[in-house]
Amino acid sequence: MKVVLLCLALAAALPAANYYVTIAGLGGTPDYDAQFAKWAADLDHELKANGPDAQVVTLSGNGATRQKVQELLSSMATEIKPTDAFALLLIGHGTYDDSDYKFNLPGPDITAGELATLLNRIPARRQLVVNMTSCSGGSLAALAKKDRIVITATKSGSEKNATVFARYWVDALKDPSADTDKNGTVSALEAFLYAQKKTAAYFESEKLLATEHAMISDNGSANAVRDPKPENGNGMLAAAFPLLRPGSESAASLSPEKQKLLVKKEDLEAKIDRLKYQKAAMPEDEYKQQLTALLLELARTQAEIDR
């Protein structure tokens, strides 16, 4: 995806999201309660692979009340700095009554408006909200905001069936194939595309009518899209939001010689990106020849760096 390629260098340069909050809401039945808690626990486990600097907090079961959510997000608002990144991940059931979205929690539910108010107080400039509940599309209008990536499991508040998107979002963090550009980082966009594809495949293979259609908006608009791309102005922020980057290494620790090679590598990557943009307008053979040459040069450079 072009968006991914454009932002590759940016994604690699930025620190991983520092703060992750996962909330598993009320299941309503023992099966759903157990499933939501398990997904939340799995997410917690995977996100902690980001290293000791990652602040991972998970609320589930009776600990995930509206009051607890409010307290947690309020305390984060005082702790988080503008340069930090913040991610909120919601798992469970939601409801929508044509005006308000509510995330179902033990005791009183919390509305999308209330969540938005809490999120707006968090100073982190880069924010990611992944609402994986039923009816989550109904929360888009309240949550969408400049510099905030909002992902929902459903396209609107009227998709009311329990969702499976969360299962595949968790898988995206476990499955190395989610890292489609092989840069060692799973970005929010890669996780979205992975979970979206797996969700669609689930409904198709089971011969069921799809009851959920995941959406993304990262340009501040409530008009989320299913296919983020430059043409619709979505995907840029999500591609640059590293969700999972285990064992990342700082460029500063490299020798001056290797730093030179890194510059060369970045230059080659930029050339490859530019070439790919020109692909449609080029004769196929010429494109392939130029691409192969650049890729070979990049491979040699990388080999030098790794030596």
Binding site: S177, D181, T292
Partner: protein, 727 residues
Amino acid sequence: MRIVSGLLWSVASLTFVTQAMAAGANDCHTLKHHGQMREATACFERLTRASDSLSRAEGFLGLGQYDAANEEFRVAFKEQPKSADVRYEWGRLYLEHYQPGDAAKLFEEALELDPNYARAYLGLARVAGLGYDKKAPDLAQEALQHDPKLYEAHELLAYLALEDSDEKQATAEAQKALAISDEALDALSVLASIDWLSGKTQSEWMDRVLKVNPVYGEAYATGAHFFTINRRYELAVDYERKALALAPDLWPVRSELGLNLMRLGHSDEAKKELDQCFEAHWRDAQTTNALKLIDTLDQYQTFESGSTELMLNKKEAALLRPYIEPELQKAVATYERKYKMKLPEKVRLEVYPNHDDFVVRTLGLPGQGGLLGVTFGLVVAMDSPSARPPGDFNWASTMWHELSHVYILTATHHLVPRWFTEGLAVHEEGAASPEWGDRMTPEIVSALKNKKLLPVADLDRGFVRPEYPTQVLVSYYEAGKICDYIAQKWGDDAILGMVHSYASRKTTLEAIQDNLHESADAFNRDFQAWLDQQTTETVRHFDEWKKNLSAASKAANKNEQIRLDIALRDEYPAYVGPNSPYEELGKLYQDMGNKADAIKELERYRNLGGTSVASLKNLARLEQEAGNAKEAEATLTALNDIYPEDEEVHRMLGNLLLANSDASHAVREFGAVLALKPADTAESHYDLAKALQAAHRNSEAKDQVVLALEAAPGFKPAQQLLLQLSQ
């Protein structure tokens, strides 16, 4: 042909005069019955101007103006709300206008008003007959009880008997009809059909038909119906053409002609016929669905090889062709050897990703419940693996099954009885691969327990007019077992001998006598004893098994659960359906860390034909973890026959094959991953590049690694491979 029959009787009656209709309608029907079409039309037109609404309705109906007739019936219904005649005649309209459900409702209402209304029973019998419902003969008999002179009921009974291949009964009923009316055209048509089915092209009965009505194309259409249900589609087409030559406006016949042409792979000709029907406003579900299907044929691609043609939907051709085409060629080569024959032309396999498209090809044929594939001469149509949920069926065994039909139908000139070709096809599945073939499902155990198997000579009835919901399934099993038994006791040559007997128009009784040298009674007795040996224990424990099935999941602890599941497994070892003890034991052992026993149970499940994709994938992972690459490979290969749409299965198998130096098959597996349009394109191109490199196809490998790096320029393993390939 059922729908033609619906038309026939509308013109055949001379005795159902009602007060309101007076003699007018009868006169018109008499003219039509004698083929005086111009005069009949004028007569019906006169009726449309009659003073009473029922006569007008009858007039419009006679002219085929269904909307106008419907309106007049509506008026008649308001005028005579308590009239059974109005309801009955209105029902006739619906029956003729491909709405049997509405027709049945009106016939039932007529019977509520007049429980002695013989024709309403006959109407219900016709509706039941359209769906090959076993109630049809009973309803026709009921009609005769109320009116013993209702010769049309005898005609219908003759027709139904011939559908059951009971020529003796069909002849007797037809003669009864002729004894009441020597101009009973449909009785004559059934008798002529018996001649045609037996190979006589000239029939004295048809001569008699033409003397009564020189344009009675319906008689040929009746013959075509019987050729169709006996899978003799080429002849069905011939007789449909003869019918239309006499009566070009027999739209249901033209529609059936279109469908049969489509079944035979002549889509262009089929479209012409179906378009004519559509233009003439004959737009029943069969016609419109067939036209819709033909319109989608440009979405398909045909791959030809020496003796095969494979038609696949373009969107899944890249995935399926590498699996289906070699399997198709293997089946053709196997059957050529086994049946000592070559097909006269290429065999064509059509694979439909949309089950509804496949179903269109089978409309109007009996015994279609749960159908996966169907054979029309040299053409086989079947569901694609993508047409059904994962684990629902095994496409490879389905294909072998259908291909067996192609050979047996060809070898017997389509004269084989249904039970034998189905039984042999099931037998061939098991011969091709032991885990294929029909399993002894609980429905079958229940039938065995209740002694519901049919004698071999009557087994066709179990397919054509089942007496209980699962009888078709049970009949497949029984027929398959009969062929297993013959092959085991007398050898494949005896099977081939029976094929040749059927080709010589021998009956089942004669085929058994000639090739197995025993009477049908002795055969039935010995077969039952042979089958009992295999099934007695399961049948004996069946009630207990059913009771224990739910108890196992509620056991107090895992050890108790294991004990119960082992008992369940041993009581009914062939059961591999949902929640089979093998899968349950596999899970329990795995949860307890006893992977060796988990593998053992799941391998039993696999070898018995279990098809749960999740369980088999789990088994493959366990086998791989246990270092048993060969078994893992076998499991994943079996999965490809069940559900080749799973990216992970191809990737796992590709890696195993590559590690096992089987680069060419690894190329196929990684190619399949790419055909499934994976999210991770870089990894998938890289995997294929590795396999191509191992297969010494370096140029293609380089192309793939460049594609991998195009998606992910920083993908280090791919970079290293590119450097290697560029040296």
